[in-house]
């Protein structure tokens, strides 16, 4: 079983609109054309539906059942195969469109925004039609019920999403900007919609809404940090060429610069690598046009060019291991013992670059240490045409290579940061525990409960819960084989 992580945020908002829309449509469906179904399949890939709606440990495609952990309980993805009993086989196209674009399911209940309908809301009717064709006639029905999601109060009141939707859900489909090229417009449509880049890469505001004025400037996603991908040359990916970005989206890596892990590894595995070069170029064109509002004026080191090769081995080689990991060289000794067998004793990686160097590596030189810690605790898991890239985890998973303690991970992270990455950062054992727990959590659920308890401002603000998809922390709780 693979467990994803999702964050749930509750926020104050009207709760007065709980009403179920009737599921009334009884439209009969004809046979869709093969071309239309294939178009839908491609759009479903671009939208990465399979990442969440399939239990990747042995589940059937789109049959749901993938548990996604969150601070307030486990959300389980639903069966979206055309099974009439267990899936969406009874959905009319209008119901389907509302589910995808508005987060309202066939029975009128609200979806949790674990489903990125905020992004999908830009999809054209034409593309919704193709997706509908695919999901009704291109997917094998799976006659299995995915387990119900059952969240604690107040998160279990799905209607609480209505207020949030009113405030933060865009309700307009994509319109081309005539001042921009067709490629740019296509890129915007995909990047902001199906590919839902901003879901992770745009920071969230106080109501956990995407802060559009900080579009793509980086956001915390559970235990990982989705970095700044604006065209800022220092903090973003302004130093990348168009070809670099396309290569990254296809392969999940750029030699001596960056590798996809966490949610991005899944996005590469299930989605980006399968898109056409034309669409990847379009996405790259659009993403590379997004500025950082606080763009760096001066040139400065980037997260791609820090640190250098070296080692601290003479401090402990030939001596007792137990002494080495306790003394001044603890971080270095932990590095050599746990990491160097693949990443090299000078952190130089293998000569072919398959195992990356840890210097000149975005993972170790970001503006925060999140991804260093997360990579250690959760490893890397990415499927591409060139094979299955897998770094084993060093957390408490059944397949951990070595269940490192918080103190050890902190010590190791600090060694890596200091000598190979962003030397300005420091990691504490508490930081490690936070990432181990799935990343920073919101107190909003608690606030909502307290707020309800005291009845404060009840007329206006009662409750709204939002679930923010943070995609794909793989916790290998039962990675069976």
């Amino acid at each position: 079983m693979i467990m994803k992580s999702v964050k749930i945020f509750a926020l104050a908002a009207p709760l007065a609109f709980a009403a179920l829309a009737p599921a009334s449509a009884q439209e009969t469906k004809g046979q869709f054309s093969k071309e239309l179904i294939e178009k839908g399949r491609y759009l479903a890939t671009a939208s990465d539906c399979v990442a969440c709606h399939t239990n990747h440990a042995g589940g059937k495609p789109m049959a749901g059942g993938l548990p996604m952990s969150s601070p307030v309980g486990t959300i389980i993805s639903t069966n979206i195969t055309p099974s009439k009993e267990f899936g969406i086989g009874n959905y009319t196209e209008a119901q389907f469109a509302d589910a995808v674009r508005k987060g309202i399911r066939g029975d009128g209940a609200n979806l949790y925004p674990a489903m990125p309908y905020v992004s999908y809301s830009n999809m054209t009717d034409e593309d919704i039609h193709a997706l509908y064709a695919y999901f009704t006639q291109g997917v094998q029905p799976v006659e299995e019920k995915a387990p119900e999601t059952s969240l604690p109060f107040p998160m279990n009141i799905r209607a609480s999403m209505m207020g949030w939707n009113m405030l933060f859900r865009p309700n307009e489909t994509h319109k081309d900007d005539p001042a921009q090229s067709a490629e740019w417009n296509r890129g915007k449509y995909l990047a902001e919609g199906a590919a839902h880049c901003s879901t992770c890469h745009t920071p969230r505001g106080v109501f956990m809404q995407e802060q559009k004025d900080l579009n793509l400037t980086g956001g915390q996603i559970g235990p990982w940090f989705a970095p700044d991908i604006t065209n800022d040359k220092v903090h973003g990916i302004g130093s990348w060429t168009q070809e670099d970005l396309v290569t990254y989206l296809k392969t999940g890596r750029l030699d001596h610069r960056a590798q996809a892990a966490g949610s991005m590894a899944e996005a590469i595995s299930y989605s980006f690598q399968h898109l056409t070069d034309t669409d990847l170029n379009a996405i790259a064109t659009y993403v590379r046009s997004i500025p950082n509002p606080s763009a760096s004026k001066a040139s400065a080191p980037t997260r791609f060019d820090q640190g250098k090769a070296g080692n601290d081995l003479s401090g402990f080689r030939g001596k007792d291991y137990a002494d080495g990991i306790k003394a001044d060289h603890a971080g270095s000794a932990l590095y050599t013992a746990n990491c160097a067998s693949c990443h090299g004793y000078n952190a130089q990686g293998t000569a072919d670059g398959y195992y990356p160097s840890l210097f000149h590596n975005a993972a170790t030189a970001g503006d925060n240490a999140t991804n260093v810690i997360a990579a250690i605790l959760y490893g890397v898991d990415r499927h591409t045409k060139d094979g299955h890239v897998f770094m084993p985890p060093f957390g408490d998973q059944p397949n951990t290579v070595n269940a490192l303690t918080n103190v050890e991970v902190a010590s190791l992270s600090n060694y890596i940061l200091k000598d190979y990455g962003n030397a300005k950062l420091a990691v504490t054992p508490e930081d490690v525990q936070l990432i181990r727990d799935g990343g920073p959590s919101s107190q909003l659920v608690l606030f909502a409960r307290i707020g309800m308890g005291v009845g404060a401002a009840a007329a206006l603000i009662v409750l709204c819960a939002a679930v923010w998809l943070f995609r794909r922390k793989r916790s290998q709780t039962q990675t069976a084989a």
């Binding site: 001596h256 250098k308 090769a309 070296g310 080692n311 601290d312 081995l313 003479s314 401090g315 080689r317 030939g318 160097a340 067998s341 693949c342 090299g344 004793y345 000078n346 130089q348 990686g349 293998t350 000569a351 072919d352 670059g353 398959y354 195992y355 160097s357 000149h360 094979g387 000598d419």
Partner: protein, 181 residues
């Protein structure tokens, strides 16, 4: 922390002999030069450790890590009563010959204590150990020079060589060039 270079494979490609023997002549502008351990040693040139690195560089015409050298010197100080005297004696022989390489002067080191000590220094750098025995002191594993002589084709055991199943390569003839190290 011993910095080696910015090269991803950590290989230095400059000769260090010239620098040492000409008295800390800087090779203009190379980053590698600024990281080269011999510069500071040639400049400081005080104390047994620096002398030991000077001797080591005379005996071995390759990049040597001064941190490893310090470990070897520490053991040598304990094991060789006349350590400092032997350092001076061998260095003097080399200087007298204006030696640029070990081949220039090694034959002039007299048989006996001095020659044995010179061999031991070479042994320590190449094997990373003080002896062949079970109770040998270990100065380095990864930077033992034996592995540098084959670094173009073999990994240092326990360290990965390449991506999964990507290590297929043609047989390398003996005429292939020696790696630079």
């Amino acid at each position: 922390m011993t910095r080696q270079s910015n090269d991803p494979n950590g290989k230095l490609v400059m000769s260090r002999r010239g620098m040492l023997l000409s008295g800390a002549t800087l090779l203009a502008g190379t980053l590698a030069a600024s990281l080269c351990p011999t510069i500071s040693l040639a400049a400081v040139d005080t104390g047994a450790q620096s002398r030991f690195m000077q001797l080591s560089s005379l005996l071995i015409n390759h990049q040597l890590n001064p941190d490893v050298g310090a470990r070897i010197a520490e053991t040598a100080t304990g094991e060789y009563k006349n350590f400092a005297g032997m350092l001076d004696a061998i260095i003097a022989i080399a200087e007298q010959k204006q030696a640029k390489t070990v081949e220039d002067f090694f034959g002039d080191i007299p048989e006996g204590e001095l020659r044995d000590f010179a061999h031991w220094v070479i042994f320590a750098w190449y094997s990373g150990c003080s002896s062949e025995k079970r109770n040998a002191k270990v100065f380095t594993y990864e930077e033992a020079l034996t592995f540098k002589t084959t670094s173009d084709i073999l990994t240092i055991p326990s360290y990965g060589i390449s991506g999964p199943n990507l290590w297929t390569r043609p047989n390398l003839p003996l005429s292939a060039p020696m790696p630079t190290f």
